[in-house]
Amino acid sequence: MAETMVRMGELAASAVAGDVLVSLGLGSCIGLALLDRRAGVAGLAHVVLPASGGNAAPGSWKFADLAVPELIDRVVKFGARRPMLEAVLVGGASMFSVSKSSLEVGQRNEAAVRELLRAARINVIATETGGSRGRTIRVYVGSHKVTVREAGGVEKVLVAGATRLAA
């Protein structure tokens, strides 16, 4: 079982059953998982900020407006079918209660990702967002279990790991 770390501004996709895509300690960032549960393909993006304003360096996926379309492309390349894609959102917390700007970043990240998914007609099937706690997301490729864990907590199942659905 290979764990792939998806760090700030990175994204990854896989069609190999047994692979696990992980983002550790999401705060105001969003961990966006895209799943095609029938094709057995999953992807994960670690979104840092809502909008690039058109001046991001090439190959940088920290902005929602660039990361969401890129993640869709990646999972489709691995054999996912676009109409079958489903999304899971984790993160978007406001970590520092006094700091107004980090509150805004978390909320704005979630709003931006949701809007982009809506425009791409992708349903959000589970979320664990907002609040003031950091979270780790794990996406189990193949079984399509998605879990979330808070600091000092246990791994909680967000999307039940089913055996592959019959086509």
Binding site: R7, M8, G9, G25, L26, L49, K62, F96, V98, R133
Partner: protein
């Protein structure tokens, strides 16, 4: 990959050194103990790598963050491990993990961070002001990530100036990070003439 020269990094380390020297004096008078500082390290690295460099992202930590407003925007982050938080609170006579514990750490952060920011401003001749502190106890990665995220708009490279303040005889330290906005680093170097 570094966009800064060795001379520039040396200059930044020296800034951090003087800033944390002033900060250690503030901490020392607060705790009534002498406080040593470590030689600061300057890290320039892709943002994605920065979190893991500071420590195990899933380990627990308390972070106190102060924003810098003025001519060089940025953030100052103080990090306490649970053990350091407990020792530090013990020195101040409050219970770690309680409401008073977190507010005591926030006050340490406020005094230490503000003196660091003032020293920095004086050295480079800039008007810098600290914003009020905010604290969180959570995964280390979450705290660092959230502070970096606020400063991530301009570039994908993070500059971290990291120094440790060590309380004498207590095996207790605070890790100290300065995270300037990218444009701010260039301004700072320009003022220093390197």
């Amino acid at each position: 990959m570094s966009r800064y020269t060795d001379t520039q990094l040396d200059a930044l380390r020296e800034l951090a050194n003087i800033g944390s020297g002033t900060a250690s004096t503030a901490l020392s008078s607060m705790l009534g103990r002498s406080v040593d500082i470590s030689v600061p390290s300057a890290f320039v690295m892709p943002m994605a790598e920065a979190v893991g460099t500071i420590g195990d992202p899933e380990s627990e930590a308390t972070g106190v963050v102060l924003g810098i407003v003025g001519e060089m925007p940025g953030s100052v982050l103080l990090l306490f491990t649970p053990k350091d938080a407990e020792l530090m609170c013990g020195l101040l006579g409050v219970e770690a993990g309680s409401e008073f514990g977190e507010s005591a750490l926030m006050e340490i952060g406020n005094i230490v961070g503000a003196s660091y920011i003032n020293a920095l401003g004086q050295m480079i001749g800039m008007e810098l002001e600290p914003t009020p502190p905010a604290a969180a106890t959570d995964m280390l990665g979450t705290i660092v990530e959230t502070v970096l995220a606020e400063r991530a708009g301009a570039g994908d490279v993070a500059l971290l100036l990291d120094s440790d303040l060590v309380v004498e005889g207590e095996d207790c330290s605070v890790s100290f990070l300065l995270v300037p906005d990218q444009g701010g680093v260039d301004q700072m170097l320009e003022r220093l003439g390197v």
